[in-house]
């Protein structure tokens, strides 16, 4: 795959506040890439720099190998779907979508065909003459996507576009967006703070915190093999435990040695161990490697969220079985369930 955008050591300061602290990122053709992080982490700033709405304080933005840091937004071959959609209130649906083409002064019949095809693709075929102010959130969202895609950009930027939709519509749109991306075959850069959204749609997830990239990877890698405490805590729920890597494939925590699949650490290196709540099995006390007592059970729909207090700490476990509060239980782990990370300095 070909590199389409490169961010090189991008920094951004607002006054003496540093929002981006050196972002390095390659974005490839046809990729669905998600910038994921808590609010204020710099993900939106990164997107706005790519779009050209903000100038970086340092570093470079390359499009196809050419530095565009000083190129104004209207000359860049990217289009944006804004958080609040930002449809032009003085134009109807058709004119909103046609805006980019009208600027390019292309043939009127061409505009009509293209706009109608776009509206059809987003499922708003007969909506052309409608007033955008009277559309529902989901419909406005589709108009915003059509308005951006009609220009056939090389890259589509999406700034938390699903944030304002209700849960069901949101899930539908996630699927649809992914479908659209495959259909039009262009790069999508998607900004969100919703980890589930990121895992569902992306080819690549970039986890950002405090202006620094924490991890870049496929959703499954980000989830199963978080590189540090932040990623493990931000993506899904997890139990994070201090441990010692005795040797390759053997980690020690909570007074017990566990077989694991991780290697390459120095002997007796202090590490952090990530245990996903759904990976821990609850068994009879005599069968468990760790023992404790159930302290609370919360019904979550598909599963129960069970807290088990052991000698060293509380474990969070998700299971489909019901366990009475107060029951003495044992906990077991298979080597696959254990993920060992380097200890993060903070």
């Amino acid at each position: 795959m070909e590199k389409i955008i490169e961010l090189k050591n991008l920094t951004k300061n607002y006054g003496d506040q540093q929002v981006l602290r050196g972002i390095n990122l390659d974005i490839y053709q046809n990729e669905f890439l998600t910038l994921l992080g808590p609010s204020g982490c710099g993900k939106t700033t990164t997107l706005r720099i790519i779009a050209g709405f903000e100038e970086p304080s340092g570093g470079q933005v390359l499009f196809d190998g050419v530095d565009v840091s000083k190129v104004p937004a209207y000359k860049r071959e990217v289009n944006t779907v804004f958080q609040k959609y930002s449809l032009f209130p003085h134009m109807n649906v058709f004119e909103n979508v046609a805006f980019g083409l009208r600027i390019k002064k292309v043939d009127e019949s061409f505009i009509t065909t293209r706009v109608n095809r776009m509206l059809q693709m987003v499922g708003l075929a007969d909506f052309g003459p409608r007033d955008v102010n009277l559309l529902s959130g989901g419909q406005q969202q589709r108009v915003a996507i059509a308005r951006a895609l009609v220009n056939e950009p090389k890259v589509l930027l999406l700034d938390e576009p699903l944030g304002a939709l209700d849960a069901k519509l949101r899930r539908d749109m996630q699927v649809e967006l992914k479908k659209m991306q495959q259909e039009v075959g262009i790069t999508f850069i998607f900004v969100t703070h919703d980890q589930e959204e990121a895992l569902t749609m992306s080819d690549t997830v970039v986890v950002i915190n405090e202006g620094t990239i924490q991890q870049i990877g496929r959703p499954i890698d980000i989830y199963n093999e978080p590189e540090n405490r932040f990623v493990a805590g931000f993506i899904g729920e997890s139990n994070i435990i201090d441990g010692i890597m005795k040797k390759d494939l053997l980690v020690h925590f909570d007074g017990v040695d566990f077989e694991c699949v991780d290697k390459g650490f120095p002997e007796n290196e202090p590490v952090e161990v990530v245990l996903r709540p759904e990976d821990i099995d609850i068994v009879k006390p005599e069968d468990g490697k760790l023992t404790g007592q159930v302290t609370s059970v919360t019904f979550k729909g598909v599963h129960y969220n069970v807290m088990v207090k052991t000698k060293y700490r509380d474990y969070m476990i998700n299971t489909t079985d019901y366990w009475e509060v107060g029951t003495p239980v044992g906990l077991t782990l298979t080597p696959d369930d254990i993920h060992v990370m380097w200890k993060t300095p903070y």
Binding site: P72, A73, Y74, Q83, P89, H90, M91, R102, I103
Partner: protein, 275 residues
């Protein structure tokens, strides 16, 4: 809700006494003759017919011309200023808008007298020109002086509504336009200006109304010979005492204003239809 209805009674009474009855009286006077003898009503169209005389038609045309030019200059100078203010940081905007309104804190008569001092043949401007060796320019009692007075007095009423509509505009719409390839000029023409049209219409209507009916400014800066509709109405009521003819002129002026507002409304609707 029903029991609150009674609360509107004072307002209705107030409206009736100060707005509706006076308007009805103007209509009554306009169609009768015989001054203030309300006992015997002599209905006539002669008051209205009198306006058709050449002198009066010219006064109307002159007023309209001045009103249109003043409004246009206020718009042409006020829009850029409103736009610049709307791009300033939030705090600075309040200061700048206050600066625009400060002149209106001073009595209009005082400001107009100040202009007389500035513009008169041996006034401040001509003295300054004299220092530079330039011959004095005659400015008082001309269209120029009247328009200067009106523009300076009415400018805030153009700037404020335009600024309000620019300020409340969503900034991300400007970004959206640029994102879709519009350069700054295209963004202004296709998005910013279009969205500020309601403010422009408010400003234009307000300034035009004030310009076409003002009488103090033309009287002071235009001199006794300078007659606009406002002066005509004033003289009919105050110095000549022909209330009937004065009412007829007022009525015609009211109709012209209504038509002008109607026209502006149409432009606004047409804009809305283009959506």
């Amino acid at each position: 809700m029903k029991h609150y209805k009674k609360l509107t009674i004072p307002y209705i009474v107030w409206c009736a006494i100060f707005i509706i009855i006076p308007i009805l009286l103007i209509v009554l006077y306009a169609f009768t003759s015989g001054g203030n003898s309300v006992k015997t009503l002599n209905f006539t169209l002669s008051n209205l017919a009198k306006i058709n005389e050449h002198t009066y038609v010219m006064v109307f045309l002159k007023s309209l011309e001045l009103g249109v030019i003043t409004t246009f200059i206020c718009f042409a100078a006020g829009y850029p200023l409103a736009y610049i203010i709307s791009r300033a940081p939030e705090g600075a905007q309040d200061m700048l808008i206050m600066a625009v309104t400060i002149p209106t804190w001073i009595n209009m008569l005082l400001r107009t007298y100040a202009w007389m001092n500035l513009l008169s043949d041996n006034g401040i401007i001509n003295s300054l020109l004299g220092l530079l060796g330039i011959d004095p320019v005659h400015m008082m009692y001309t269209d120029f002086s009247v328009m200067i007075g009106m523009i300076c007095n009415f400018m805030p009423f153009m700037i404020i509504p335009i600024h309000t509509s620019l300020r409340k505009m969503d900034r991300s719409l400007i970004e959206a336009a640029m994102d879709l390839g519009a350069n700054p000029l295209q963004t202004f023409r296709r998005v910013i200006f279009k969205l500020s049209i309601p403010g422009v219409i408010n400003g234009v209507v307000m300034v035009f109304l004030m310009a076409i009916s003002s009488f103090v400014i033309p009287k002071l800066l235009g001199g006794g010979q300078y007659v606009l509709i406002g002066n005509l109405i004033e003289s009919q009521f105050i110095s000549i005492g022909d209330w009937n003819f004065g009412s007829a002129i007022s009525l015609i002026l009211a109709i012209i204003i209504l038509l002008a507002m109607r026209l502006m409304k149409k432009i606004d609707l047409k804009e809305a239809e283009e959506r």
